[in-house]
Subunit: 337 residues, 2 copies
């Protein structure tokens, strides 16, 4: 795969232009484009421009309504429920985290939920959004069933991405993980290369663990990270998302055959309002400093979640954001349609 | 190991009598005894009476001060920070979850944190406490460093137990998990029997995954559940516990060489106050019903977290709580000292 390096603003403008041609307003197209481009800017290429055409396809098929915006279902002080109305997933999530940030500035802690929303693309964006506003942010989404529950032989639970973000002057800690040990995208790449995964990735026909990506993909039995523990935790996040939003659980999302109408939760803690600022930075710094003293099995040092993001962002702002040449061509063709 | 079956009340009274002889007040001794006995009642024998003598030893060594009660550090509406004052861990946690329950009834959502507290023994107790009050409860604690961070070759992060509990008329969903794939206790039992663990349990001298409990115990390199994902998530829970309480992070807990002065977080959501009751039961029921339709690799059905607790509790209330004969003798000797 050959890459081209596109200046961030140019990439964002390109995406925005395409979105405008789909009848999305100037401002919303700009923000949506920014969120797609930010994923690539931060080195999360699996969830950025790579997904843009899939997203456009969802719009064309009527699975995402680009003109719909969230409407309030209930507003009870620090807790708000919103209907995503089947609108654009990353814009809805951006809106919800923004509400959560505002509410946490007022109440200290806040929780905003979304029902009937769509895939938020790169979840980490919303963690960065929280920490850039000085807040601790926690958010999670359910998904279509794509893993077996522990002991099961068919996909029954989602891999339900979870983001936890903690602000820090020297650079935040941002965890962005799904509960599948490996993404199907990564397994497909390994399969195409004829490679095995480095660790157990799912189940074979007999229910034994296997590192063979082809087997896992064929069986659609990706491994819950942490085996029974990740299976249980992912299931609980799904139930929380469904109960707190009043929206679909994973199994209901799965009924349509498309990953639409998912449920999401956004929690914020404002350290100022909660009077945590005296020690916030000191404590996070100290944990990271200690972590960095760890002896290793060969790596230069162990890493904390989100550690490399600011470095990658800086490099990509300077040199341009790496985009596969074929995708860049496709974007240009899309614009010239 | 031969078991005796002790009526729950008799077990609780026995523990209470022993605690009274350590200068603990009647009421606090009763509640502390209840919490220890409840773990065994619910079938969580690893964290009940099995730990009672270790707990008494901590009191004798002055590592737990049985007379100290939590004092408020800050009370900001739905968010409260308390100093556990090195008191009894399960009583402090019981107190904190109770505060969180009360605050959630008032505000909808609440967060209570503890610094300078001690091991809460069975975390699931506090999840059950929340659901029995009709609340969604989430709590987590940090621990002494007992796992390597991903890539590391020495213990640097805690296995930081996490509890998520969701109320339900037909029986709640209660997840109670630590982020180590296997507890050291389970690995010791397998080692004594000359058995391998059923799944990867930690690292060998070269940093490769191994199922051999002896190797893992020797290296003190238990596996984070979910590999790099569980390592990251457990680290984030530690940072959250430390930042939200203002107390020790795992690495600071580790400095003393004893697992004391840990930090804990207790979150509650009151479904009544948050107006979630119209669908709470329906949604949780539906998820569980769907889960139960899963095909399996031989098991009768897949299970949800907490599924067996009510059954075990019922059996043990009827037949008596299974306690190892040697521990029961030790309890009697302790009382007759």
């Amino acid at each position: 795969m050959i890459d081209v390096q596109i200046p961030f603003e140019k990439l964002k403008d390109m995406l925005q232009e395409i979105l405008l041609s789909h009848g999305i307003s100037q401002q919303r197209a700009g923000r949506c484009a920014y969120l797609f481009a930010q994923a690539d800017l931060d080195g999360v290429r699996s969830h950025g421009v790579n997904r843009f055409f899939l997203f456009l396809d969802f719009i064309k098929k009527g699975l995402v309504d680009p003109k719909k915006e969230p409407t309030a279902l209930s507003q009870l002080g620090m807790f708000e429920r919103w209907d995503g109305q089947g609108g654009i997933g990353n814009l809805n999530a951006d809106f919800a985290m923004n509400r959560a940030i505002q509410l946490s500035k007022e109440f200290g802690i806040s929780c905003v939920t979304l029902l009937n929303t769509n895939h938020w693309m790169r979840g980490g964006n919303f963690g960065w959004q929280a920490v850039e506003a000085g807040c601790i942010g926690i958010c999670f989404t359910n998904t279509i069933p794509n893993m077996p529950a522990w002991g099961g032989s068919e996909p029954k639970i989602g891999n339900n991405p979870l983001v936890i973000a903690i602000p820090r002057a020297k650079g935040p800690v941002v965890l962005d993980m799904a509960f599948s040990q490996f993404a199907y995208g990564k397994m497909s790449i390994a399969q195409a290369k004829g490679e095995q995964m480095p660790f157990d990735a799912g189940f074979d026909d007999q229910g034994n663990l296997t590192k063979d990506p082809g087997t896992v993909i064929k069986n659609h039995l990706g491994l819950p990270a942490g085996l029974w523990k990740g299976s249980g935790l992912s299931m609980l996040l799904d139930v929380l998302a469904s109960v707190l939003s009043g929206g679909n659980a994973s199994f209901e999302v799965g009924k349509s055959g498309h990953e639409t109408a998912v449920s999401q939760v956004f929690l914020c803690f404002d350290p100022d309002k909660l009077e945590l600022t005296d020690w916030l930075d000191t404590k996070v710094d100290a944990v990271i400093e200690d972590l960095k003293t760890s002896s290793t099995f060969g790596e230069k040092s162990v890493r904390y979640p989100g550690e490399s993001t600011l470095k990658i962002r800086k490099v990509n702002l300077k040199n341009g954001v790496p985009i596969s040449e074929s995708i860049w061509e496709k974007l240009q063709n899309e614009l010239n349609k």
